[in-house]
């Protein structure tokens, strides 16, 4: 452990020329390692399909960057010269418990930054506390647009584009690839993510395919309820020909199993916004011909995509964990890369070991390269990332004897997300100006 030579007050003052007063008040980072808590579901129904693959994605990329074994542009070792020390924490137990745990992570375990969070509920409840405790927090997976549209945060970032992008891209894909959709219904979880996904999907459908009609009984079962027999009956009884679902975690798997036996997928077209984990977990039991998204250029959608970073990630992940990286592995890795890019940029800008406020100003509005595409912090005053979102149709690859996705279409960010300064709802109501796809 060598002492940080740059960390003296004189240097602080020269840097302080453009750093705010609060920067002076913030304590300098103690050692030459940077401690980050990675939070994801380690228990509960979301652990297998989302939490653990996400945790593994973060771990893999963190270890590779610490060792300097990533391909370009992340070939330099360390995060702005610092080694990143990760501790892994569990996201289950409800929002209030997450807030309590967040406080413990910051105040007891004294982490420098917190990274992760899958559920929109966790993100919404943690962001105000991050502000209160002035701790850099990078959200990885959660999707509700309310996070940055209802408030501005100084310490919170999100590397995942929000649910409006997923919903608009879904509607665009339906317009471009599916014929004969007259009426659509939905089954979504009864919390921020499910409610927002359905709401924006509905608005986008009305804008893009005005001749379609929404069913009057969209279903909102409780998150993690596991049995959907009655909901499936309700949807089977109506005359909708397309069903939208933003189910994720174990719920999508349960829904698909229960629905496929009942011929649901023969009667209805199905669009799953975030269910790609089930495609891998259920294998042949997952119905072919389902429209599937991964909320970006992630997971199964980019499994065949060329590119040094992407191929390195897939191979290294398979070698270490024995399975393909899933959507959440990419999402968590993307958050780690955002941290790496901003800490490196902070060193380039300031010439010193990065400090919290320098990292934050470096990250604000940053453009960086992710595993399979580019990402930029364009919304939410430079804190909310935007990136393209793709959809495809599930199929079975007999040659490799594994699931695959065909007819992939990727929609660029400006087609599916509002421009800076405009609220999603206003943008959608105005007919999505600027979206030219």
């Amino acid at each position: 452990m060598n002492k940080l030579v740059f960390k003296n007050s004189l240097k602080m003052l020269t840097v302080g020329a453009f750093v705010s007063l609060s920067a002076l008040a913030s304590p300098p980072l103690a050692a030459d390692s940077f401690k980050v808590a990675v939070v994801s579901f380690l228990t509960g129904p979301a652990a297998g399909p989302f939490g653990v693959p996400g945790r593994n994605g973060a771990e893999l990329v963190i270890d590779a960057i610490n060792a300097g074994s990533m391909p370009a542009p992340y070939e330099s070792a360390g995060f702005g010269g610092l080694q990143l020390e990760a501790i892994f924490a569990d996201e289950s137990g409800g929002n209030a418990k997450q807030v309590a745990e967040y406080r413990n992570l910051v105040e007891k375990q004294e982490v420098d930054a917190v990274l992760g969070y899958i559920s929109s509920g966790s993100c919404m409840s943690v962001a105000p506390v991050a502000e209160e405790l002035q701790t850099l927090t990078i959200m990885s997976v959660c999707g509700t647009p309310r996070l940055f549209e209802d408030s501005d945060w100084n310490y919170t970032f999100r590397t995942q584009a929000h649910a409006v992008g997923d919903s608009v891209a879904a509607a665009l894909y339906i317009r471009d690839q599916l014929d004969d959709v007259k009426k659509y219904n939905g089954i979504n979880q009864n919390y921020a993510w499910g409610q927002d996904s359905w709401k924006f999907f509905d608005i986008a459908m009305q804008q893009l395919i005005p001749e379609t009609q929404a069913a009057d009984n969209p279903q909102f079962p409780k998150l993690f309820s596991g049995q959907y027999g009655t909901e499936i009956s309700t949807i089977l009884l109506d005359d909708s020909d397309l069903v939208h679902s933003s189910f994720w975690d174990g719920d999508i798997e349960a829904l698909v199993l229960q629905a496929s036996v009942r011929g649901f997928f023969d009667k209805k077209k199905f669009i799953s916004v975030a269910g790609a984990s089930a495609v891998d977990n259920l294998g042949k039991r997952f119905p072919a011909g389902t429209v599937i998204g991964t909320r970006g250029e992630f997971g199964i959608l980019v499994r065949e995509q060329e590119g040094e970073l992407n191929e390195w990630f897939i191979n290294a992940y398979r070698e270490r964990y024995g399975v393909y990286p899933l959507e959440s592995s990419y999402q968590y890795a993307q958050s780690v890369l955002a941290l790496k890019a901003s800490m490196d940029k902070s060193v380039a800008d300031n010439g010193t070991t990065p400090e919290k406020d320098q990292i934050i100003s470096a990250m604000t509005g940053l453009n960086f390269t992710s595993l399979a595409g580019d990402v930029s912090f364009a919304l939410g005053e430079g804190h909310q990332a935007v990136h393209p979102v793709g959809y495809g149709i599930t199929a079975w690859n007999d040659e490799k004897d594994e699931p695959t996705v065909v007819d992939v279409k990727v929609y660029p960010a400006h087609c599916i997300l509002p421009p800076p300064g405009q609220l999603s709802e206003d943008w959608l109501a105005a007919g999505m100006p600027g979206s030219d796809c």
Partner: protein
């Protein structure tokens, strides 16, 4: 009409499921006067061991119908192992305690059982869809229903009949009734009450595990599945009358059908309606709709 049939069938399937889980709870309460929160843990253990066994059998190339045997075997296994262990090591020492303290002890046990699942089975979900796929689907009321869920009705009817038969037509049933009626008198006339308790608890555990094991093929078996079912079965048991088997049947039918109607017509009342009925029954007839006659001791 289509809707009516569908609501009815949805309600009946859910009711059958609730009945199978709750009947074990009510038997244990009737005989031992223990309201067992750990029943939710037994349910989860049943689901996990069945899902694990079915997955393993599928990998080893056993035919799909074999899964039904495995469901039976794994619930028996869980019932005997966990039932005997829990009764011997924990409950036996608590019979002299207040009944609410015993509830708390079973709550502690429930937490322990939940996490033991994580230690034994890990965090990844298990899928055991083979039996459900094997039975396929059938068209009823204009939509397809999976046959597997419909077999729940048969299983529930079988369990109900078996309980009725054992209680009313066998020597065992007479012994049980005596113990339920008065524990001290039973001791006095030479009934081995301890043995009756062990057997009752094993059967109760087995039925809880059977509920989990039988539902396992239709769900993603993941940690935490026991939490919601335990309050639901409390509601069932309380509505029908704690300790009464026909009560559990009526309670399950009411809760299952009310829930089905709510989901179809008033989704936002799904949970509210169940517990509102539970509270209403407790207020009007605290002993439940089908309580066994209460003995008056002087």
């Amino acid at each position: 009409m289509q809707t009516a049939i569908t609501v009815f069938l949805d309600g009946m399937t859910y009711a059958s499921y609730l009945f199978i889980v709750s009947v074990g709870l009510t038997i244990v309460f009737g005989v031992m006067k223990i309201l067992n929160v750990a029943h939710g843990g037994f349910y989860a253990w049943g689901a996990y061991s069945a899902a694990y066994a079915i997955g393993l059998a599928a990998e080893l190339g056993f035919p799909d119908w074999f899964a039904f045997i495995l469901i039976g075997l794994s619930s028996m296994f869980v019932g005997i192992v966990l039932g005997v262990l829990v009764e011997r090591l924990i409950l036996r020492k608590l019979y002299e305690h207040e009944e609410v303290i015993v509830i708390l002890a079973t709550f502690g046990l429930f937490l322990v059982l939940e996490d033991f699942i994580l230690l034994v089975f890990g965090v990844n979900p298990y899928f055991a869809y083979q039996p459900m796929v094997f039975l396929g689907s059938v068209e009823m009321g204009g939509i397809f229903r999976d046959v597997y869920s419909l077999t729940l009705l048969g299983l529930a009817a079988f369990v109900a009949f078996a309980c009725w038969y054992v209680l009313n037509c066998t020597k065992w049933g007479k012994i049980l009734s005596t113990v339920i009626y008065d524990r001290e008198i039973s001791l006095a006339i030479g009934i081995d009450v301890k043995a009756v308790f062990v057997w009752t608890f094993v059967v109760g555990t087995m039925l809880g595990a059977l509920g989990g094991a039988y539902i396992a093929p239709t769900i993603s078996v993941a940690p935490g599945i026991g939490i919601d079912i335990i309050v639901l079965s409390f509601a069932v048991v309380v509505i029908g009358g704690m300790g009464s088997i026909p009560g559990a049947l009526i309670g399950a039918l009411m809760v299952g059908n009310l829930r089905a109607i709510a989901v179809h017509k008033f989704p936002e009342f799904e949970l509210f309606v169940i517990f509102a009925v539970m509270a209403a029954v407790l207020m009007v007839r605290p002993e439940g709709l089908f309580a066994p006659a209460k003995i008056r001791r002087i």
